[in-house]
């Protein structure tokens, strides 16, 4: 009985993960869109920018989500536009999580002047209005790619992660197993990565999910105000073009509702996933 305990803990995690309604709902929604982004483009014969039909038509059998002002297929643009959303989310969110955790680990573990410097730096970046900074950077760059966008978002979204990870590192550092690792001659980074980080793995997963959603939202905002990538298509760019050509006053709902709703759904689903995961990781929050 006793020997089985570690296995039972893993199963326990799965048990609660599979039974958590929020987690199931959130993950399902995200997976549906991931699936669409992967296989969607194979279901459409068109190019996202090609003029393939009569302009400004509502959804029909040939054009599932209607056509734009210029006769481009909205469904084609939609499925192609989903891909960069995930790209920016994973790259930007991943980068923000990485920078945030590394700075948080270092500041929390080293303490002293390292902590002072990193903490001041974090606070400075934290109070800079991120969007304003992104606007300025985006406006200065002539040619912008999705990759660049992810990079900028990742480099500005990390501060709150750094602060949270620093606080957790501080509390874990005071535990005696860290002292034991130190008198075992382990190097600081090994202690951080093999002793401290595994203890906050669940937290780091949740941080990544939140950063993922935040990056999608940030990217969509930039796209929407016309500072998105100069080439390619994304959901944010679709909304921007739609509004630019008067889709709203003309009542062309099929042009801007699908991308807008998708962004809202996707980000919402990520937050719901996060709450669900929190409940799974933290027994006190579990649904009965």
């Amino acid at each position: 009985m006793k020997e089985n305990k570690p296995r039972r803990i893993k199963n326990e995690f799965l048990y609660f993960a599979l039974r958590n309604r929020k987690l199931r709902l959130g993950v399902s929604i995200v997976l549906v869109f991931v699936f669409l982004a992967i296989v969607g483009p194979y279901f459409t014969p068109y190019d996202p920018w090609a003029y393939v039909g009569p302009p400004a038509r509502p959804p029909s059998r040939t054009f599932w989500l209607g056509t734009t002002m210029f006769g481009q297929d909205v469904f084609t643009q939609f499925v192609y536009g989903l891909r960069p959303v995930f790209l920016v989310g994973i790259l930007g969110g991943g980068l923000a999580t990485f920078i945030g955790t590394m700075i948080g680990f270092l500041a929390g573990y080293r303490g002293g002047w390292v902590d002072e410097v990193l903490n001041t730096f974090t606070n400075v970046v934290l109070v800079i209005p991120t969007l304003a900074l992104l606007l300025i950077i985006a406006a200065y760059l002539g040619v912008r790619s999705f990759f660049m966008q992810a990079l900028f978002i990742g480099c500005t979204a990390w501060p709150w992660t750094a602060r949270a990870v620093r606080a957790q590192t501080l509390s874990l550092k005071a535990r005696e197993f860290v002292d034991l690792a130190r008198i075992s001659g382990m190097s600081p980074w090994r202690i951080i990565l093999t002793e401290i980080a595994p203890n906050m793995l669940s937290y780091l997963v949740m941080v990544f999910i939140l950063q993922f959603g935040g990056a999608i939202l940030n990217a969509a905002t930039l796209d929407f105000i016309g500072l998105g990538p100069t080439r390619g298509i994304s959901l944010g760019l679709m909304i921007q073009i739609a509004l630019l050509w008067g889709a709203l006053p003309l009542g062309m709902w099929w042009w801007f509702i699908p991308p807008g709703l998708t962004i809202a759904l996707l980000v919402g689903a990520l937050y719901v996933t996060n709450v669900g995961l929190d409940e799974v990781f933290n027994p006190k929050l579990r649904e009965t």
Binding site: E176, L180, I183, S184, P198, N199
Partner: protein
């Protein structure tokens, strides 16, 4: 072997570090090879801080700690690793000494990875088993388990076994007995005594239990509020205690033939000591002189290898460390 010279540790507290707490204040003593030195004091007296200072887990605010004549604050990289090869510690709380998400025997694998990367897998397993057996554990029963599946005593002995895997010369044993039950307690104490006689191991035995200290050690340092009250050979400190605090501690050991009411003990302190006077002033039952209020007493020699920090004594101006260094023989 290990010498502390006027070690101080001040913690900054509060916003901007305006308040300060002196955890260890001007402590000097020395532990010779093969000596077991007891560090005795109530909670908050700075015992654990001293242990951590010696293990170089925290840096002293001032003063020096010398190991084999070298200041440990200067050790870096390979030299520091070499220091940990010789100087090890066992901590107070065995439950928090283990990373809860890994198996308990991971601490042995860390020692192997860090200090003995070239030792073969099979030979290492034998060494671990030998170390476990010597602390009275049955290897098959305790290996491959998670910390929460083992008892406090087993975890504590794991930690001692871990220290034995290294070629240790000095062990900081911070309250290692308090988690053990009475029967294993004696076993572990005897194990420590054996290690001392076989390997010439020196031990700093941090404890609040006077009878244990008396049972095992050669010397004692009585600590109060980070300052040494009395130190010297164990039979002298315990046989003819010269500081009122030591006398109070000895009087407060529960005895089978005495009821608690008969023992008069003043345990509560009334606030923090202010200014320059003796730190023990407010609890001291003796007649207080002007000197007690004005001057913080230094250590004075009352006998060979016996020092006390009280104004009531006679001779002035010798430190415990210098006397120890002059020639105290083990046992």
């Amino acid at each position: 072997m290990l010498e502390l010279e006027n070690v101080r540790k001040v913690y900054r507290l509060g916003a901007l570090g305006r308040r300060s707490l002196c955890a260890v204040d001007g402590v000097s003593f020395a532990v010779g090879q093969g000596q077991i030195m007891s560090l005795i004091g109530e909670s908050g007296s700075g015992k654990t801080t001293l242990g951590k200072l010696i293990l170089r887990l925290i840096p002293p605010t001032s003063g020096r700690i010398l190991f084999e004549g070298q200041d440990i604050a200067t050790l870096r990289g390979p030299a520091l690793k070499d220091y940990y090869r010789k100087v090890q510690g066992v901590f107070q709380d065995p439950f928090s000494s283990y990373n809860p998400i890994f198996k308990a025997d991971r601490i042995f694998r860390i020692v192997k990875a860090e200090f003995f990367p070239r030792v073969g897998e099979r030979e290492w397993r034998e060494r671990v088993q030998r170390a476990l057996t010597s602390v009275g554990l049955v290897p098959e029963e305790v290996l491959g388990k998670y910390p929460h599946q083992l008892s406090g005593g087993q975890l504590q002995r794991f930690l001692i076994a871990r220290a034995l895997l290294l070629d240790i010369r000095f062990l900081v044993a911070d309250e290692i007995i308090s988690m053990l039950d009475a029967s294993t307690r004696v076993d572990v104490l005897n194990l420590l005594a054996d290690l001392r006689s076989q390997r010439g191991l020196s031990i700093l035995f941090i404890t609040h239990d006077l009878s244990l200290a008396h049972y095992i050690s050669d010397g004692a340092v009585i600590l109060y509020r980070g300052r040494v009250m009395e130190c010297g050979r164990i039979d002298k400190v315990f046989g003819s205690p010269s500081h009122p605090y030591t006398r109070m501690l000895l009087a407060s050991i529960p005895r089978l033939d005495q009821k608690w009411e008969e023992v008069e003990v003043r345990l509560k302190s009334q606030g923090t000591p202010q200014g320059e006077g003796c730190v023990y002033l407010e609890r001291c039952p003796m007649e207080k002189t002007e000197a007690c209020r004005r001057v913080r007493p230094g250590l004075k020699q009352v006998d060979d290898d016996h020092f006390v920090a009280c104004h009531c004594g006679k001779e002035e101006g010798v430190s415990c460390a210098s006397a120890e260094a002059r020639g105290s023989s083990p046992s």
